[in-house]
Assembly symmetry: C6
Homo-oligomer: 75 residues x 6
């Protein structure tokens, strides 16, 4: 796969959160690289609360990693 | 998205808990930005114990991050 | 919400476990503040093993946070 | 509840694992203190692989806490 | 139960992964010691992707513990 | 099993992510070594959003381990 993740260091807590979202999505994309199937699955579940909570959980796990890498953006 | 997360540092353990809730919700909102679909999903599941426990779990993961960032509010 | 969490520091490992339970419950309560709906959901699932294990998992995650905050009650 | 957890410090990695199991079970017991309902739920699921894996996961989370508390039983 | 876990220290990252698998399995075995029921559950789910992913998750949690205990096999 | 994991140390954050994916897959493979059954399970679930999110979650847990081992690729 092309380069998509060069660093875990970002400027702000919000940038870190958005990077966590990117990592969560890339975990899905590596598992199912076929974009058509991916979209089909997403369309079925996008308004399913269990799916949304599960996605939020993966983001939370990645955010732990990123926040720690950035020393919680302590100045 | 507009700025919504400027710092992980908060005054009290309870403030930290409420920030964890905010992060859990934002994880959902980034995944499904369409507020109508979001509300529909939530309405269906809001009294479902499995959903509520799953939401509580995401909060718990974020709370680990926030509590550590704040050094557990040791004075 | 009123003040309900003033400190993460407790005297014993068991007190810490009971605080973890409180945090797990508060995560549910913030997500569904309507006590009637909450009780209805709980009544349906209270003898469901999957629900009980999920609740135990949230407690386990909070216990990690609290045990670390208290330095594992090392004397 | 009576005293059931006086310390997180145990002699061996296996003792720690067994303590993790105890914590996982106590998380269930605090959530559903009615032993009859508890047994009923357990009887239904005890040979369900999803339930067994979920139980193993809660044990794994508590084992992280206990192993760290004991500094991984480094001598 | 007989002694089955004497140390968390192993020589290589792969040995650590295999120990994580052992811990994940022992978590199941302590929860359901009846080998007949265990095999029955496993037979039903062994080709179920949700079960396999859940098993992989428990392994991942134990691997965090073991990798840290071994200081990530830094030489 | 043959040697497949010699080190947790990799050059870049992206290499680490790809190693996390490998660990997640190996957790599945050790649990179900029969490649035919594995493929059958995967074919059924590969476009199921819940499965994809669960896979992404296991990757996230392993990524925590690998990112920490590599000290977050701080230069």
């Amino acid at each position: 796969m092309d380069s998509w993740l060069e660093t875990l260091f970002v400027k702000t807590p919000q940038d870190g959160f958005e990077l966590a979202i990117k990592l969560a999505r890339m975990g899905v994309k590596y598992t199912q690289p076929d974009m058509e199937k991916l979209k089909k699955g997403r369309a079925q579940y996008a308004d399913d609360a269990q799916f949304l909570i599960a996605a939020s959980q993966v983001i939370a796990i990645h955010y732990q990693t990123i926040a720690k890498a950035n020393n919680y953006w302590k100045t």
